[in-house]
Symmetry: C2
Subunit: 324 residues, 2 copies
């Protein structure tokens, strides 16, 4: 088996070998910009890892891996318009650097490019691959819609929130492993278990993202911290704080979350103080631990050799303990 | 062979049988709204017609046909945001009825749905179908980008414009026939000739659209006339008028096309008067005739039976002489 660094290198080489700068340049420049910003490139890494774990030929998986990364980046371009996010990976977002129209259309093109990458996979697997990809694609859009809905819904439950992040984030983490497992021609049962493992890890991953958004170091995290609070995003942190706080603090939180000013740093600070008062960081980590355990139980059902199991546990640990 | 009305009916039944109203309703409501607005449903009709002409099973083509219609509607949702178009098919556009975010995300979902429809085609044809579909998808995005570029470019040539409408419109008309021909399992040569025929018809179709935008009856056309002029779109009509007008009128046209006020009806009227002075309608129809002849030469190379050739000529005629 190769190392995570090897997978990274293969993906980087693949991205670097793409000729993104086609005509019209106005369309393709934001695509190259986005693809070369880097980021964790987690999803394609998972695809190659899954393929390798089931003794597949990872050179057969590298196109699909790039497809998943391209799809993920397409969603970021459009999400950043909808969320009015100025910074991504420490750089201006496409809609800020250029404009919303460029971000819409370059995003659309990236979605086609994603399908085009996937199409370079072995032909006899296309039906299965596109089936997974389409399901995940639809669910990611549904998740983003729920996310937007929650901005104007007063009664979001913790379950609603967890369903939203499952759709918006976790299914693509699961899907990335699923795709790699299909390309390795593993059994359907194993492919499903890998998906389930990935989905649960993806839940913990998103909760860690929410924690970093509130408590992270913005210079490491690559985007402004407190963004979720500024945008009144009802994350697990907020919903849990509402649940466990006394009525005065609960009301104060709700009031703070009616402020529409994105530049209100005092609001961010006060919300963080309330989160700290109620140990929200620790409570969130408890829930992450629950998802981690669920992920591990799926992993055990696969019955992999020790070194392979360790590789998957290693990546789950990295995702949960990351600070970027 | 079935009639155009039969194909229409099959497509309508297929659309009516779709359960678009899934959760979250905010995402799927604009999709149902768009798909049920109707319109000409030209592209899926062409797919079924092409399949029927080459003796294919049109029930095998109906999913791909729906995929092409869904893809086309996805592009409309996003184009209408970028073009700030208030009305489409006589009804408010999605971004006007709801908002830009809904139009972005519902559009994205429609693109996935389009791929999902295509995936229901015979499995052994998936590679060929997705290859055509991805190429067309990329080109349509490129065409839209050129279209946007031209808004701020002073030196658009007639050739630039024709290349833009080829990408933005004609390739999807050609692609719709191409897909139907593939599903009928016709030869690659025939599929390519059908594509070429469709692309040329598509050029004439778009020029007719430009004519209708300036000279059409808005109650029939389903959108406000003069929209291209209001938005300073450098269509063939404008570019040809610039080419053939005297220097005073040429300068006046250029000056009128610097006005940014979308509600300036006097500007629209003056541009139309200049178009009329220089016989722009007739000159445009001449060019349409050239494309029509090119289309016919591709058609003859296929060597179809008379009744089948007539069906294709019939649809080309309809597209060129339409007033809606």
């Amino acid at each position: 088996m190769l190392s995570i660094q090897d997978y990274h290198q293969k993906i980087k080489s693949k991205i670097d070998s793409q000729n993104y700068l086609q005509q019209p340049i106005e369309l393709y420049e934001p695509i190259r910009y986005t693809m070369q910003l880097g980021g964790k490139r987690l999803r394609p890494t998972l695809t190659l890892l899954a393929c390798d774990i089931f003794n597949g030929n990872i050179d057969e998986a590298v196109n699909a891996a790039l497809g998943l990364e391209t799809f993920h980046n397409f969603t970021l371009l459009h999400d950043d318009i909808m969320d009015k996010a100025p910074i991504r990976r420490g750089q201006p977002t496409v809609y800020k650097k250029w404009d919303a129209n460029r971000a819409i259309l370059s995003g659309d093109t990236m979605m086609v490019l994603a399908y085009d990458c996937l199409l370079k996979s072995p032909k006899d697997l296309l039906f299965d691959l596109f089936t997974v990809f389409n399901k995940v694609g639809k669910e990611v859009c549904e998740g983003q819609q729920y996310d937007m809905n929650f901005e104007t819904t007063s009664s979001v439950s913790i379950d609603d929130y967890l369903e939203m992040i499952k759709l918006k984030t976790a299914v693509l983490i699961g899907g990335s492993l699923h795709v790699g497992t299909i390309i390795a021609r593993a059994s359907q049962k194993h492919a499903q278990l890998m998906y389930n493992f990935g989905e649960k890890v993806g839940m913990a991953f998103q909760l860690q993202d929410d924690l970093l958004d509130a408590f992270g170091d913005s210079s490491l995290f690559g985007k402004q911290t407190g963004g979720d609070i500024r945008a009144n995003k009802k994350t697990y942190l907020y919903l849990k704080a509402c649940e466990v706080s006394n009525s005065t603090d609960h009301q104060r939180l709700k009031d703070l979350y009616t402020i529409q000013d994105e530049n209100n740093q005092a609001k961010v600070d006060e919300v963080i103080t309330l989160f700290e008062k109620y140990n929200i960081e620790a409570l969130t980590k408890n829930l992450m631990e629950d998802f981690y355990k669920e992920a591990m139980s799926f992993l055990q059902k696969i019955g992999l050799d020790d070194d392979k199991e360790k590789a998957l546990i290693g990546i789950a640990d990295t995702l949960m303990k990351r600070n970027t």
